[in-house]
Subunit: 382 residues, 2 copies
């Protein structure tokens, strides 16, 4: 099967290179910006690709919603299988693309959009056919994992590890999507849609790591905890879904603690299978390209969709998920939470809350921050 | 698709139960021993199953080479897809069954035969289509992992943890296949065949955990190591494959160290994907049944084979795999190894060897044991 590649950046170069070696696949034309067609296989017109009868599949690795969505629709309407690494595209337009692909009888797969090289969505889509997915989650952002791991292991402060991550290429010049948890949130949106037929686009909660300090890390490290930015999703008793991102404190020995540097770890809990954990590199040219290629090989084996026919957009409800939290905040505000323990050090209080809902926790901190308070919090998992 | 189940023991009951709930699948007749047909869905004749045109697939969970092989051939010749959890069957007859299934144009899948609920072979088979698998391995025997974990965490001796494991149902009355490493070896045979088109049936090496003592565990625990029974496979420079099982000492923080109790961890290193790690329950009714069901759902998605058309039996060559080893042996025999360090405690010596090949290590210890020496060894991974 001849595969056209949309985009020739970091991942696109990897996909193009792997296509030449893969069984049953061959590289087709590559879409680049006008003026960049400096080699015979490069074209700058999407029409040249979708009108080429030799092209059987299109792999999109441009990123962003547009023009990727327009290109995706054109490829699907022309009867080409469509594979993408673009989480922003699938989070925004996945339901519509799934519908169009099914109408056209061609594949719509996006392994690389969640977990990079880690084959999470593929296994989740297969598992849900015969098992009930009770919950899912993990560490799905390599940038913040690198930063938290370096803060813990090297004792560095936030600004220093962010600068290191940027120098190493793990963080972008504008790191907001990573450090705010938005990137991880998009991935759990996709996982919920695969597992529960519901792509949550409202009611989502994401707390990132922008507020963490070296003193926070030293505090919970001395108590035997490791901090990771963890995504969580699950099916609520009423049939709705939960979906949120927040820092979590884990006991040494938890699988999440062995996720070092910029690695990813994804997990699902099947009613029959029990907990299934997958780890690997969540980003980078070759790991991400390998996920795109696995999807393309999957098409040759008959794989077609990750979202079911019933998959629709909906709202998340995080009011039923309850944890105890570690909170660091101005001592004067310690009374905002029902605390199981409080330690005060000058003007700073560090407390462990009684169990409260994710919804209540995120909303309370949002309110305190709006009033100017500096707050860090993390869920505690025993 | 109606699925017949061969065997109604621990796993068979699980498979039958899951079939009633799974999308696109339904339970068919179940093969039991003559005289055990105490419910309408049970039959005692394989002919009643293979001659039933309503049966689309057969799931075999009896175990052992015969009569499973005879039943498998009958099912495939009748044009039924064939799924099995039986590692002894696939290790002994997998190449022949793969050939027959391909001739008949039906599926031959066996996820549950390696890693229980962990979807290792499925992902390996998919990854190898587009990536080069540099190495593979992991912890594929839950019984020995439970025992090593309990020895390390509770300080128990071998005989006590074995008795505990038997009481909990993690070890069989005759635990030989597990504690000798043979069970794990069969799984790495299958993984090599999936990754490298070579089912190694000669040249294999397996060292189990029968020789380990509480004193050994205390010794390497005090030096920051955790012991696990690890399977290893890989492609040699000359195109051959390595395949062996041995105890390995790992530094705290290695993913293997977070594999607790009777869990399994499988790993492959793709040239492009990098290291991909999968963890989950390697045995038990529901995890194993969930793997059988995933294969059946995979058939609905178009999946057919784990072994390629070229897959053939061959020999393993472990002379090119080189490690340093921890060895505990009678002090009088310490000179048998080129040592980087030796500690002697009365009549016992504990040494760390200079790097030597797996082949040389296993052969030397075999010779010493033939002469009556008590020896334990484990590869050291930094």
């Amino acid at each position: 099967m001849k595969v056209a590649v949309l985009g020739f950046g970091t991942v696109g170069v990897g996909v193009y290179g792997m296509l030449a070696e893969a069984a049953g696949l061959e590289p087709g034309p590559v879409l680049v910006r006008p003026g960049k067609e400096n080699e015979p296989f490069k074209v700058s017109s999407i029409e040249a690709i979708v009108n080429d009868p030799a092209v059987g599949a299109v792999a999109e690795v441009i990123g962003g919603v547009e023009p990727a969505y327009t290109y995706a629709c054109a490829a699907l309407r022309a009867g080409k299988h469509f594979v993408t690494s673009n989480k922003a595209l699938v989070a925004a337009k996945g339901v519509a693309l799934n519908k169009l692909a099914r109408e056209q009888g061609v594949a719509f797969l996006f392994s690389a959009a969640c977990g990079g090289g880690v084959p999470f969505l593929h296994n989740l889509a297969l598992a849900r056919e015969s098992d009930e997915i009770l919950s899912l989650g993990g560490i799905l952002n390599g940038t913040t994992n690198y930063m938290l791991d370096a803060m813990q292991r090297l004792g560095l402060d936030y600004a220093d590890v962010l600068a290191d991550a940027q120098r190493l290429g793990y963080a972008e010049a504008d790191p907001t999507a990573d450090v705010s948890g938005l990137d991880a949130l998009r991935k759990i949106m996709l996982a919920c849609a695969v597992a529960y037929d519901r792509l949550p686009v409202e009611g989502l909660l994401n707390e990132g790591i922008e507020s963490i300090t070296a003193a926070d890390v030293a505090h919970f490290q001395s108590r035997g905890y490791t901090c990771r930015l963890v995504v969580s999703g699950g099916k609520n008793a009423d049939g709705g879904v939960s979906a949120y991102v927040e820092p979590v404190l884990l006991r040494v020995g938890a699988p999440e603690c062995s996720v070092l540097e910029n690695y990813n770890m994804a997990r699902y809990e099947g009613k029959c299978s029990g907990s299934i954990v997958l780890m690997g590199q969540g980003a980078g040219r070759w790991p991400t390209a390998s996920a795109v290629l696995r999807d393309l090989s999957g098409i040759l084996r008959g794989e077609r969709y990750m979202f079911s026919e019933a998959c629709a957009e909906g709202a998340a409800d995080n009011s039923g998920s309850v944890h105890g939290y570690y909170v660091r905040l101005p001592a004067a505000l310690a009374g905002e939470f029902e605390a199981e323990s409080v330690e005060t050090d000058g003007e700073i209080a560090r407390l462990v809350t009684a169990p409260l809902s994710v919804q209540a926790m995120h909303e309370t901190v949002k309110k305190l921050r709006a009033e100017g308070a500096s707050v860090f919090f993390a869920a505690i998992r025993q």
